[in-house]
Symmetry: C2
Subunit: 223 residues, 2 copies
């Protein structure tokens, strides 16, 4: 007998693994999964490319692990709110606002998680991520319907609508420019909330606007 893995070594191995995952996550946060090339990850983690393969069997597995870690954080935040106190309606509102606000703040990462073109392995992880969103939304909708807070609906379809509306309005070609979101991100989130809450039947319909002002052409809105 001449070698055995000591605790010191085990700790260093775990440390290297963490360094690799951190390097990969930072690259993803900067430039999406497309930027997480193995040579770049190795460089950033301060190891050789071959070393990566002593810790992860393939690039796909490494990226999946990064995806899981990042998305788990988000899902836990939302699930925590959903399970918390308050009426279903209040919790739904809180979940949606949190989802949207966090996506605005971490736009690049949100883009990677939700919208960036990725290959099949990551698409699977993304599908799980989005399904979890759907389940959280659908659960609250069901509760709310049972409690009589919302009108009865197909909660799966409605949840999918919400899960599509929020990211699309914040990320990608239909979203405001990034610098606009820096300034008026909160207003955009408010608008999205209005749409989604009205969509599930939660909001009172606003008072109708009158016909456009004859002089200015601007619609006059009454409180």
């Amino acid at each position: 007998m001449a070698y055995r893995r000591t605790d010191t070594v085990a700790a260093r191995l775990a440390d290297t693994r963490r360094h690799i995952l951190n390097a990969a996550r930072e690259l993803v946060a900067e430039g999406g999964f497309a930027a997480a090339q193995m040579t770049e990850v190795a460089r950033k983690a301060g190891v050789a490319t071959g070393t990566l393969y002593r810790y992860f069997p393939s690039k796909e597995e490494l990226c999946r692990q990064v995806f899981r870690e990042v998305s788990a954080r988000e899902m836990n935040v939302l699930a925590g709110i959903a399970q918390g106190p308050g009426t279903a309606a209040k919790r739904l509102e809180s979940v949606l606002r949190t989802f949207a606000s966090r996506a605005v703040r971490g736009r690049r990462l949100a883009f990677a998680l939700l919208a960036e073109p990725v290959d099949v392995g990551l698409a699977e992880e993304r599908a799980r991520f989005r399904r979890t969103h759907g389940e959280i939304f659908a659960g609250l909708l069901e509760e709310g319907i049972a409690a009589g807070d919302f009108p009865a609906r197909d909660v799966k379809v409605t949840a999918a609508c919400i899960a599509g509306a929020i990211p699309t309005a914040l990320i990608g070609p239909l979203a405001p420019e990034s610098h606009e979101l820096d300034e008026k991100g909160d207003k955009v989130v408010d608008e999205i909330m209005t749409f989604c809450l009205a969509g599930v039947g939660l909001l009172q319909p606003r008072i109708k606007v009158k016909a456009p002002d004859a002089r200015t052409g601007e619609p006059r809105i009454r409180a």
Copy 2:
């Protein structure tokens, strides 16, 4: 002088070009842009791979052309309805229902246009496609607000919500299974319409449900 391009040849060239585009489009309709590999396109079009490059400078350009042709058809259908007769609210409803119904029927192509992972060149085309949707929706919303049909909103954000909600609820991991859509696609479209029209403030809020029935646990819905 010994050669000049006759009309016969020009016609044959145009014909080959069309064959290539058709072959590519069919492959996309069957398996998405991922299935449109140059060797496959050539095989299906009945030409050599090198021939493709006599008609298109690169795979990217060929795929872009396919994307443009397919998406133009869809955009024209929606734009036609938007410019047609009727109140803004009626036209909006018709545009949304048409968008959703066509996506259900041509799911695979809709997936390729809206959701399939694609590289940057096609992502640009897709961005244009989605922006056009956004503009059509936003234009109708503006009209409707001016006419007093809907409450005032940020029409761009609202349009983006709609443009995200519809495909997400019909395509991808949050959508019903394909075989389900075959049976009850119309119901799903109805649900999506309800969500979106309520979202823009068009629907009267439904009458509230009562508390769940004590015996069955089922919420009772009153007309």
